[in-house]
Amino acid sequence: MPTMNIIEAVRDALRTEMRRDPRVVVLGEDVGKFGGVFRATSGLYDEFGADRVIDTPLAEAGIIGTAIGMALYGLRPVPEIQFGDFIFPAFDQIVNELAKFRYRSGGQYPCPVVIRTPVGGGIRGGHYHSQSPEALFIHTPGLKVVAPSNPYDAKGLLLACLRQSDPVLFMEPKRIYRASRGEVPEDDYTLELGKAAIVREGTHCTLLAYSGMVSIAEETAKKAEAAGISVEVIDLRTLLPFDIDTIIASVKKTGRCVVLHEAPRTCGFGAELIASIQERAMEYLEAPILRVTGFDTPFPYTLEHEYMPNADRTLGTIRKTLEW
């Protein structure tokens, strides 16, 4: 089985689906001849041509707006927003249009658009190349939000997104785009949306993470193990709809839970997870559920390493729940 990094896995998924389904087209800034600033679409222009790998003018509202029209007409567009931080000019098209088309038309117009965008910090990108805006989109009825953490999941989840008809925001962890390598089947396979993965089993505390934070969660679990603490790491993979059953089963088993995300804390996705868990498993909890998150500040440049959650902070927070 070949090994790939996340970029290669994304590209492999796009190529696989473009070969299989002539309706799939890729569009965005620099995605054509150049192959994207992160090279996710590299080689696709040569294989599929300018009609299916479309260099767009530089305007996110236009990229998403035209992608919506393409989807309504019968294509399966996969727009790339070059950085998640640049998605906001298209916010109205995503929130008020894309996510609402099926509903507001009485089911007459599904709108199958899969938006790919790199998210997260750790690349010395400052405020405009580092944000994690998932909570804004998880709060949007009609959208699905998917956030893979590794190459195998990236390919299987992206193929799954391309084979269903709801609009998806597919968030890719850019810090580990190349650093995360793993075996990825050359074959066609899909991973069911809405299903989390238990990355590591444990008994003392459940640690919920997604996207770039899963690798931090695994590092935390290893450090914890050395200290005699058994941590169960769950990679949520799909954030909306999230896998409540897997989460609750784990929390009932461990009795403790910590949520780890990079995005700002207030009204972050962690808040929703904690609310949902305590509604269903209050009597199983031995301690309050705690969070390790980014801060409610804009994403900093020089002090990025202080902003980013890390294994030590996460382990410290797990200890706090154990000592509660």
Binding site: A59, A61, G62, G69, L72, Y73, E97, G142
Partner: protein, 369 residues
């Protein structure tokens, strides 16, 4: 508001009274087509009148009339049914022309159990997929890049379909307008962009929307032709729209049409123009009423009689009365439908919320309609 005068660049077929201007080519339309156009114009005006009266009686929540602007809707006449229309919220005539039924129109007004959009949008936000009339949304301009995308998709898929989109002059101030014009120009997309310049964006007059001499002039910056047309002249509307649609279908790219007209009444049932506009301002435009002008034209070519018009209006009134009566007997969409079609398959969290709501005591709507 400067009264619009008939500059050289303004395309017209009929004069203000409805006589064919000397030396002008009249679009070739069959008697049947002319008859359907008149019938549809009368349906729009009859429907607008009836719906606004219902709104004033408190029986309908909201309405938007298009009196005086109806001729602009007929830009869709040269389209095939396989072509796509991305409307704003004031093109009733385009809907009826393409076959949208009085029954669906009325059921949408009331958001009842037979509403094609299942009570999920306020009045005048129609959808008719079978007619390629795309779902309307309230934020202005969002439909313009979508129309460009659909047009470009047709090109990619090797079909010769054309997309047409409608918007007002106020919408030309939005980012979406400029973005879409630019994409359309770059892609050479088969799209026709109809800007209905009715002089007013709710209370804000056209001179607060642009410092450009005309809206059509904006097209130049995007590498496409911009055509100005008398929007109260139904024959001129069809003429310029035909040229634009033919151009798009031939692969020659997009056209922007500025249709000059006037909003002689309020923006919507919630508006009161007396607060911000000279009550005499609409008068010059009332004299250029598109229905009167078309009627005069039909009379001149022997296709109009008072009896004919009376029978058409009577038929429309009867049909509206019939479906209003039927609508009165229809209930609201089922509660469960609120949770359906958010996604293709209902996810667990929506199912859970639905089940919870169904267990609660029922709430009575505080609204009479």
């Amino acid at each position: 508001m400067v009264a619009v005068q008939m500059q050289d660049d303004l395309r017209r077929v009929l004069d203000d009274e409805g006589r064919v201007l000397p030396g002008v080519k009249v679009p070739e339309l069959s008697e049947e087509t002319l008859g359907r156009m008149f019938d549809t114009l009368l349906l729009v005006r009859t429907m607008d009148d009836r719906m606004m009266r219902l709104q004033r009686q408190g029986r309908l929540g909201f309405y938007m009339k298009s009196i005086g602007e109806e001729a602009t809707h007929f830009a869709v006449v040269p389209l095939r049914l396989t072509d796509w229309v991305f409307p704003s919220y004031r093109e009733q005539g385009a809907w009826f022309w393409r076959g949208y039924s009085v029954e669906n129109f009325i059921n949408q007004m009331f958001g009842n159990e037979k509403d094609p959009v299942k009570g999920r949008q306020m009045p005048v936000h129609h959808t008719a997929r079978e007619l390629n009339l795309v779902s309307i949304s309230s934020p202005v301009g969002t439909q313009i890049p979508q129309a460009v995308g659909a047009a470009h998709a047709a090109k990619i898929m090797g079909k010769d379909d054309v997309a047409m989109t409608f918007f007002g002059e106020g919408t030309s101030s939005t980012g979406e307008f400029h973005v879409a014009m630019n994409f359309a120009g770059v892609y050479k997309a088969p799209v026709v962009l109809v800007c209905r310049n009715n002089g007013w964006a709710i209370s804000v007059p056209t001179e607060r929307q642009t410092a450009a001499k005309t809206y059509a002039a904006k097209a130049v910056g995007y590498g496409m032709p911009g055509i100005r047309v008398d929007g109260n002249d139904i024959l001129a509307m069809i003429q310029v729209a035909t040229e634009a649609v033919d151009r798009a279908r031939a692969g020659d790219g997009p056209t922007m049409i500025e249709a000059l007209t006037y909003r002689v009444q309020g923006h919507s049932s919630s508006d009161d123009p007396s607060v911000y506009r000279d009550p005499h301002a609409p008068e010059p435009w009332e004299k250029r009423d598109p229905l009167n002008r078309f009627r005069t034209y039909l009379k001149h070519i022997g296709l109009w009689s008072e009896q004919l018009e009376g029978s058409i209006v009577e038929r429309h009134n009867q049909s509206i009365t019939e479906f209003l009566g039927k609508s009165d007997k229809l209930g609201a969409p089922p509660i469960e439908s609120m949770f359906e079609e958010v996604y293709e398959h209902m996810p667990w969290h929506l199912a859970e919320q639905r089940d919870w709501l169904l267990q609660q005591a029922r709430t009575k709507s505080p609204h009479a309609h």
